[in-house]
Structures are given as structure tokens and as C-alpha cells.
Amino acid sequence: MGQSRKRVALVIGSGGIKCAAAIGMWRVLQAENIPIDSIVGCSGGSLYAALIAKNIGWQELETLSRSLWTNDIMQGYTENLKASKDGSLRYNERSGLVNDAVMNRNLQQIYGELSFSDLTIPLTIVATDLLLGEKVLLSEGSVFDAIRASLAIPIIFPPWEVNGRLLIDGAVSDPLPIDVAIQNGADIIIAMGFTMSYRQRLRSMTAVQEQVNSIYMNNLLSSTYAFFNLAHHAEIFPIVPEFDEPLTMFDTQKIPQIAESGMQATQEQLPHIRRLLASSQ
């Protein structure tokens, strides 16, 4: 305790359903009593970052995340995709292929009236300004708004307006926002990140869009990580869970296995994190 203790930040990057690995990470960190001073979340990672910031137990985290990823979340997608092919789909900067009513309802049920000021651990959520291309940091007001914005996967989900700005997925500007933790003054950063899987066959326009965006985001991920690893004055512990198979948004039944991979990946880093914490006390 005391002011000499090093400040620990948790960063959970974008990765869709793979972000459920944060459940396993949180399980380990809680069991080990690792103090967390701030949390940063991006895209799918913001779902978990917000719940961890409430300091809830890992079991509850797992239960809640099952109610987030429901099978009807992609409502409207097939119809709109069809319409995009025959040219009848009207599309502008506020559009998305998915009707976001289900997602908004799911998010409302969990985050509802929660505000950043209600959280036990300070939280920052990263999104991207669609029109200006810049990273946008959200750390006050409605947690629901921030998560909804950060989750707006390009093309798929409509952007979300916050304070007059049209926001989309944080992964488009900063998929693993280590820099935000550095700016918040962290000494030790535990950063859980995910790479997007590539397809080996591109059989539709949607597959091409996904591939093109995955290439950008993976390159962005590796260069931001390389940069901050070199530039920072803080210690960064990357936690990159490995998965045997590509996972899609519909693999909700695999959440326990995903959480398990997150637990293993965290345990590998644990001795290093503990040593560093001990040395500063």
C-alpha cells in the first residue's frame, strides 16, 4: 500500500467474442489480489473492461457475457446484405448492415444507467471518429453509449453518436490502446490483445471487406504494440491467448473455453507481474 506502489493498468483490446478471454484473466488477477488502478477497453474488450471496472466476480462476468452475445444480435444482416447486392440498399454514414435494436437492448440490460462515475476502478473506452479518423477517448457520462460506440464494427453495426460526434469501432484507430494506459500514468500495463483471423477463401464481397479490414487492424495492432513497447517508460505484459480455430460472433457456446485460454495466458505472465509488483513495495 501507500503511494510508492506501482500503478497497474489493465488494457483489453478488440477481438469480438475472443475478448471473453478477459473472464479468465480477471479470475487469475482477482485470485492473486493484483491491484488494478485503471482499465482501458476497446471494442469487444470494452464490454469486459466496464464490468471489471465495477469490480464484480469472474463468475458473474461469465454469466453476463452470455446474455450479451445472443444469437439474434445480427438481426437484419441477411436481408440488408441481399439488398446491398441488388443495389436497393441505401447506405450512408449512419448505416450498418445489422439492425442494432437487439444489441442495444442487450447492452441496456447490462449497462443500463451505469455512468463512468459509478465505477470502482477508473475506466476509459476507446472509439474512433468516423468522419475525422481520430481516436476518441470516452471516460465520462453513460457507459452504455461508450461501449455501443466502441463496438460499432465498420459496415456491420451503425455508428453511434456521442456528444455530436459519429463514433465507430475503436479497433479502427487503436486496437490495443496501451497508449491510453500510459497517458493515465500506469507503471505496469497488463495488455490483453487479439489478432483477427484471416480467411483462406474469399467467396463474397463481405468476405473481402472483412479481410481488408482485418489486414489493416492486425498491422495497426502490431505497429502500435511495437511502438509503445519501445517508447513507454512503463512495463508492458502482453497477454495474447491462443485459439486453435477461428471464432465468430456466433460461437457463444465456446465462451468457457475462451475464458480458459485467457486464464492460461494470464498465468504464464503472472510470475513476472508479481515479481515486478513485489520489487516496488
Partner: protein, 288 residues
């Protein structure tokens, strides 16, 4: 004709930026006037066109003439009829990774017309062209074979032009992995890097799914540009001099009539960097 420095190795890296990349010719004018030689040229996407013309030792006027005849609206005039059908009925019309909205036969002919059988082995200055592997997302550096084919691969703007196969790999635009590939010059052991980069313009209005896609491409590649540049600038052991021409006029993909203006702005940006470059060259014992 460019001179070659004896002790200090200088590289010119020209990032993606479509017709704005012609600003590299303005930079070359300044280097030639100052008798500063270039030891390595790296190009990406639109920058690959100018990197190749510089490496081949073409005079600036030749490069301008060739660009004017090569990079015209005509290269995108011929829409791919197959692509339209592939979007509507992907199964029936065998949608695959070779998809592109534009029929690339004209672009290929124009590139071949400009560069013909010239190969990397024919260049006066070593040349590297950056592309991206469509299936593993990694940067691919092309340094051998026919130059026009490498440029073609590096120019495969996503959605617009089909990927181009080189040695069996489906390659797409270099800007998808690194819009300003200074890393390639660093790996070649260069001392001073002149890095000319451009931000990708944003859509004035998003009125269709395709424009939305282009907007996302610009947002991601601009963020990638900044991060990669920040990394290399910090990590390298060589000096990196950014040369970022400022355009007050909005330049669209085919605004070739603005090339003289673009070259002027490239020249101005190069003039600003010149004192520092000369000091560096002087410091290492090789001045112009």
C-alpha cells in the same frame, strides 16, 4: 543523372498517395540541383510509380510525360461486368479473391506501355516496391522481376482493382500493411532516409456502402501511417527526415492536370528539409 554518395547511404521512400506521389519529382529536382545522390528508392502504391521512374534514372520531364499518359481516368473507366454479377450472385459467378470493381486490363497495358520489359536488375539505383499479401496480411517487398508487375501489385487498391499475382501470391496494395514503408530502407542499412508520405483523404460525403468502405480504408491506413512512422522514427538507428508536402487544393485520384502544382509543393517541402539534410551529409563528410 543522380550521383551516388560515397560514405553516407541515402534512401528515398515514397509512400502511398495516388497522384500526390508526383511530389517526389519535385524532391528529385532539388536533390539533382544539389548533386545529392540517392542510394536506394522504396515505393508503395502510387509512390511505386515514381520510385521506379527515379530508380530507372528517367529525367523528371520523362516521368511527368509518362504519368500523364499512364494515370488517366481511362484506367478506371472500364467497370468489370463480372464483378457486378459476382456481387449479386457470388456462387454462380464464382466470387473469389480476384474480385475487383474495375477491369484491370487497361491499367496493365498502360503500365506495360510505360515500363515495358524493364526489370529491377535494370535500375540505376536499387529499388524496392511494397505490397501486401492478401491472405496473411503481411508486407511483401518486391525487388526482382518485371517492374511494371511489382507496381501493378502495389497499386491494387482494395475493392477497386483485383489483386495481382506475383510468384503465386495474391498481392494487394502496399498501403494496407504500411503506407510509408521506411522499415524497408532501415533493413537495407541506410543512414539517412527521406520519407515522403501522404495522408489518405476522407470522403466528403458517405452516400454508399462502397464509400463507407473507402472511408474505413482511409481511417485505418492513416492511423497505420502515423503509428508505423512513430515506431520507425524511434526505433531506427538512421536519420529519418519526413517530407510532407502540403496541398491547399484538394487532389482527387485522377487530377493529373494538377501534377505541376503537386511537383511544386514537393519541391517546396524538399527545400524546407534541405538545410538539415545538407548538415547531416556534411557531418558525415559527404556534401554535395
Amino acid at each position: 543523372m543522380a550521383l551516388v554518395n560515397e560514405n553516407t547511404r541515402l534512401a528515398l521512400v515514397i509512400g502511398s498517395g495516388s497522384v500526390k506521389c508526383a511530389a517526389a519529382l519535385g524532391l528529385m529536382k532539388v536533390l539533382e540541383r544539389e548533386n545529392i545522390g540517392v542510394n536506394l528508392v522504396v515505393g508503395c502504391s502510387g509512390g511505386a510509380l515514381y520510385a521506379a521512374s527515379i530508380a530507372l534514372g528517367w529525367p523528371v520531364e520523362t516521368s511527368i510525360d509518362k504519368t500523364l499518359s499512364l494515370w488517366t481516368r481511362r484506367v478506371t473507366e472500364k467497370r468489370s461486368r463480372k464483378a457486378v454479377l459476382q456481387i449479386i450472385l457470388p456462387g454462380l459467378f464464382h466470387f473469389d479473391e480476384n474480385f475487383g470493381l474495375i477491369d484491370d486490363s487497361r491499367l496493365n497495358r498502360q503500365l506495360y506501355g510505360a515500363f515495358g520489359e524493364a526489370s529491377f536488375a535494370d535500375t540505376h539505383i536499387p529499388l524496392h516496391i511494397a505490397a501486401t499479401d492478401f491472405f496473411d496480411g503481411e508486407q511483401v517487398v518486391l525487388s526482382s522481376g518485371l517492374i511494371w508487375e511489382a507496381i501493378r501489385a502495389s497499386l491494387s487498391i482494395p475493392y477497386v482493382f483485383p489483386p495481382y499475382r506475383v510468384a503465386g501470391r495474391a498481392l494487394i496494395d502496399g498501403y494496407q500493411s504500411d503506407p510509408l514503408p521506411v522499415g524497408i530502407a532501415i533493413k537495407e542499412g541506410i543512414d539517412i532516409i527521406l520519407a515522403m508520405g501522404f495522408e489518405s483523404p476522407y470522403q466528403e460525403r458517405i452516400t454508399s456502402l462502397m464509400r463507407y468502405n473507402f472511408q474505413i480504408s482511409s481511417v485505418t491506413s492513416n492511423n497505420l501511417l502515423k503509428t508505423n512512422f512513430a515506431f520507425h522514427n524511434l526505433a531506427h538507428h538512421s536519420e529519418i527526415i519526413p517530407i510532407l508536402p502540403e496541398f491547399t487544393q484538394r487532389i482527387h485520384l485522377f487530377d493529373t492536370e494538377k501534377i505541376p502544382y503537386i511537383i511544386d509543393e514537393g519541391e517546396k517541402a524538399a527545400e524546407q528539409a534541405l538545410p538539415y539534410l545538407k548538415r547531416l551529409l556534411g557531418a558525415t563528410g559527404v556534401s554535395g
